[in-house]
């Protein structure tokens, strides 16, 4: 009996021990909190000489920000000093949808930036209409969005403004091309820089080089390699069908610029000819036979081996492979970007403008204790002063003004490059990108400097010697110079059709999925078939699409596009 008691006591002792241990852990919480808020008060108190009451807003962002430093970074301190506002922010991890939890629970943060699930917050009634707030307290916001302000409205039925787009920069221009068709620099160098304008030129260049060099570094040379790993088939294979036949990127649809009629782009007759060319490439042995079976890592490894002469991809997708080549010093095996089309009749519209497309952004919730302060805060961030602070940092610390030009001192640049995460955490540059409206690359401020830290000179600086030499032979300074510029085309009034969301669970999205499945099966089949069978397979492909309801899908999508055009362009 004595023994038993002892063991029971032991059990209780263990339990008590554990609980007290946890008690400690929990007790830490209030202490911590208090310390934090004291800190915050102190700071705001120090600097709010302008009569700005210190205030803390909670915020949730549906994107990760691992270097977030609770506004203890240089930029954050200035923001608090200027506005009196401290942001207690939480960030998403790994795209897990937490917005639906927030919407359902009714525990809204004061500010929220929800991405794709924004409609859940709106239908939960969580968001405040910002229209009047912008009108009364948002001169800078009005200035940045300018003529595009109506595009911020939620929908035809509910013309309130719930979110300020923060992901896209207004007036964004691109300084370089990352798409088109890619050829290794070695190929054009060897062939004396021939004009690469049509698929014929492209094909001839590949063939000639391949005949002269059947092996590279002891391994068989590969002509054109494609990637069809799941969705990547769109980037490397099928998007090129519309690019090469003179259409801009509107997702899986071609939009008629006059009538706004949507066509599932594979149904355009000219695209059939593009796929016939791919079929011909395969039949003549210029297409990598593994094109439709290789996985992404295999594709990159192949590119990194330096024996793939040509790609029809986007740089962001094959970059890792190319970087491996550069690291080895094999610059001539890197890729140039050429504006290839099916024939001379077409021009590439990679850069056709979309106008400001709005998109995801930040909004104020009904839980916010002081919406006026909140909009004033967002407005200040959108001001010239605020935007420069967010992008460039603090003058004299992160940049200097030399002869009226903002420049980043070499030692800061060094830090930024080699110690990117640490730099972001201490300086705060880059942490506030998603906090308010902003201009894109290429927009100038009142002093004639760029708002962002990206500018054309930098692009050229980033090219290696081989790239510069190749470009010089084509009388260009950037790859973009080879492409028709955005000024040659009218701005698309519908923006870009891929931005139009199909209602989930609707007929439209069901049919779309069905067509997509057919496409992913039929395209590889058509390309790999014997040329004599190509027409037959293509006809079957088209017949199957019609059976799947492609015509109904096109009609409904046309409606969506027309609605968007009307909504965006009414005044």
């Amino acid at each position: 009996m004595k023994k038993h008691d002892f063991s029971l006591a032991g059990l209780i002792l263990v339990a008590v021990l554990i609980f007290s241990l946890l008690g400690c852990a929990q007790n830490e919480q209030p202490g911590h909190r208090a310390a934090e808020s004291e800190n915050g008060d102190e700071q705001a108190g120090d600097s709010s000489g302008g009569g700005l009451e210190p205030i803390t807003f909670t915020a949730y962002f549906e994107d990760p920000s691992p270097n977030w430093n609770n506004m203890q970074d240089a930029v954050g301190k200035v923001i608090t000093e200027k506005t009196g506002v401290t942001i207690d922010a939480e960030f998403a991890v790994s795209g897990v949808d937490r917005i639906s939890l927030i919407a359902a629970s009714g525990n809204y943060p004061d500010l929220i930036s929800p991405k794709g699930s924004a409609d859940q917050l709106v239908s939960a009634g969580a968001m405040i209409d910002l229209t009047d707030l912008i009108e009364q307290h948002g001169p800078n916001l009005k200035k940045v969005y300018g003529e595009y302000l109506p595009r911020l409205r939620w929908s035809e039925e509910d013309p309130s403004i719930y979110f300020l787009p923060t992901y896209d920069g207004v007036g964004q221009t691109y300084f370089d091309a990352g798409g088109g068709f890619q050829l290794q620099h070695a190929v054009v160098q060897e062939l004396g820089y021939p004009e690469i304008r049509t698929v014929k030129d492209f094909e001839d260049a590949i063939r000639t080089y391949m005949e002269r060099h059947p092996t590279i570094d002891g391994q068989p040379t590969i002509g054109l390699s494609l990637l069809a790993d799941d969705w990547r088939i769109l980037i490397s294979v099928t998007n090129n069908a519309f690019y090469a036949t003179g259409a801009p990127d509107d997702g899986e649809f071609y939009i008629d610029p006059e009538t706004f009629e949507a066509t599932y782009h594979y149904r355009r007759p000219e695209e059939k000819e593009y796929f016939r060319w791919l079929n011909h490439m395969n039949a003549t042995g210029l297409l990598d036979p593994e094109s439709f079976v290789q996985k992404y890592d295999q594709y990159l490894a192949k590119i990194a081996s330096g024996r793939v002469l040509a790609l029809t991809d986007q740089r962001w997708q094959f970059q890792d492979g190319e970087n491996a080549l550069k690291a080895e010093g094999k610059y001539e095996r890197g890729y140039g970007h050429y504006p290839v089309t099916l024939n001379e009749q077409y021009v590439r519209k990679d850069f056709q403008g979309t106008g400001f497309m709005g998109g995801w952004g930040i909004g104020i919730t009904t839980s916010n204790p002081d919406p006026v302060r909140a909009i004033q805060f967002l407005d200040w961030l959108a001001s010239e002063e605020g935007q420069i602070l967010r992008r460039w940092g603090i003058e004299g610390e992160h940049y200097e003004v030399v002869d009226g030009k903002r420049v980043i001192p070499p030692q800061v640049m060094e830090e930024k490059r080699n110690n990117a995460a640490q730099f972001e955490r201490t300086s705060g540059i880059g942490l506030y990108e998603m906090f308010s409206a902003k201009y894109g690359d290429g927009v100038l401020d009142s002093t004639g400097n760029y708002f962002t830290t990206n500018f054309p000179e930098q692009i050229v600086e980033s090219y290696n010697e081989v790239e510069k030499e190749v470009l010089a032979h084509y009388n260009a300074t950037t790859w973009k110079d080879l492409f028709p510029s955005e000024e040659e085309f009218p701005v698309r009034p519908w923006g870009a059709a891929w931005q139009i969301q199909m209602p989930t669970g609707s007929d439209l999205s069901v049919i779309f999925q069905r067509c997509d499945d057919i496409m992913k099966r039929r395209i590889p089949q058509a390309v790999l078939a014997d040329p004599s069978e190509f027409d037959e397979i293509w006809d079957q492909f088209m017949a199957e699409l019609i059976e799947a309801g492609v015509e109904q899908m096109e009609r409904e999508y046309t409606e969506l596009v027309r609605k968007k055009v009307a909504f965006w362009n009414e005044t």
Binding site: L11, L21, P66, S94, D320, G321, G430
Partner: protein, 303 residues
């Protein structure tokens, strides 16, 4: 030498069996060890070089850059402490509550036995779903507290059933004789059942511990804004995110980006993270190993 002697003195079928057994075990060893070594090799290899493929169990261009990326975050230490704490506390409390319930359910004289079993079994098949659970946790006041790591998972139906079936397998006469000696139910539980159930308890402890160690989602959902309650896995998840998203970050286009990307890649960091999270929990196994072995001999001889 002694080994070879026994080898030759054994009969043919025995030797065949040994040989087969030996090869089979080598095979199992290889397929379990290879992925681990592969991950280790990639985590120690230069990330640009990894793109070229062909890394198997040995790094080609040795680097610690992938680990440097991970360890530059000072929140990892807080995370590590909380992860260890939740693993210890969660396992201890989980084990005690699950085994107590299992013992009760194994008792034939417990009237509501059937009802509670069915009640528990239901939770194996149905759950409230994310949103209701979230709201429940909120209403229970468990948000921003350490206890949210421990309480919700303290009684896991599956674990209870596993322990119960083990207890069912113990001779009931043991309990009866203890009772005759004057032991009450708690004493029977603590002095008779628990010591005899060590093998199953070790197994369940391992399950709970691994689960606790690996968990990050609850941190994200309930304690996202309480920085002092963060866990190691949650912090590492964020590190991983940062490498994946840096590619799209506006500021690091052009040259900056190529250089950043060349140093580390999401794939390599992922591998390094895998190593960082696996090694501590691997260290737990040797301590529990002896109970598994004991379990086997315990079941071998039975009256």
């Amino acid at each position: 030498m002694a080994g070879s002697k026994t080898w030759f003195s054994r009969s043919w079928p025995d030797r065949c069996f040994d040989l087969f057994n030996f090869m089979f075990m080598i095979f199992v060893l290889v397929i379990t060890l290879y992925p681990f070594l592969h991950v280790l090799a990639i985590s120690l290899n230069d990330s640009t070089d990894t793109v070229r493929g062909g890394i198997h169990i040995w790094p080609r261009q040795f680097t610690l850059a992938n680990y440097e990326v991970i360890f530059q975050y000072d929140t990892l230490l807080t995370g590590f402490r909380n992860s260890v704490l939740r693993t210890i506390v969660g396992t201890a409390l989980g084990l005690i509550s699950a085994s107590m319930l299992a013992f009760t359910l194994s008792r034939r004289d417990f009237q509501a036995r059937k009802f509670i079993s069915v009640f528990l079994a239901l939770t194996l098949y149905f759950s409230g779903g994310l949103i209701p659970v979230y709201m429940l946790i909120r209403d229970l006041g468990l948000m921003n507290s350490f206890w949210v790591y421990v309480f919700p998972g303290m009684v896991n139906a599956f674990f209870v059933f596993v322990i119960r079936s083990y207890i069912d397998g113990l001779p009931y006469s043991l309990q009866e004789s203890a009772k005759l000696d004057g032991a009450n139910d708690f004493v029977i539980y603590w002095r008779i059942i628990m010591p005899l159930s060590k093998p199953v308890l070790a197994t369940i402890a391992l399950f709970i511990a691994v689960g606790q160690w690996n968990a990050w989602f609850d941190t994200y959902l309930y304690n996202g804004s309480a920085r002092h309650l963060t866990t190691l896995q949650f912090e590492l998840m964020k590190v991983l995110e940062s490498t994946t998203t840096s590619g799209s970050s506006q500021d690091f286009r052009g040259q900056n980006m190529t250089e950043v990307m060349a140093r580390v890649s999401p794939e390599s960091v992922k591998m390094a993270i895998t190593i960082v999270v696996t090694v501590p929990i691997l260290l737990v196994y040797p301590f529990l190993q002896r109970y598994f072995v004991k379990g086997m001999t315990l079941g071998a001889v039975k009256s």
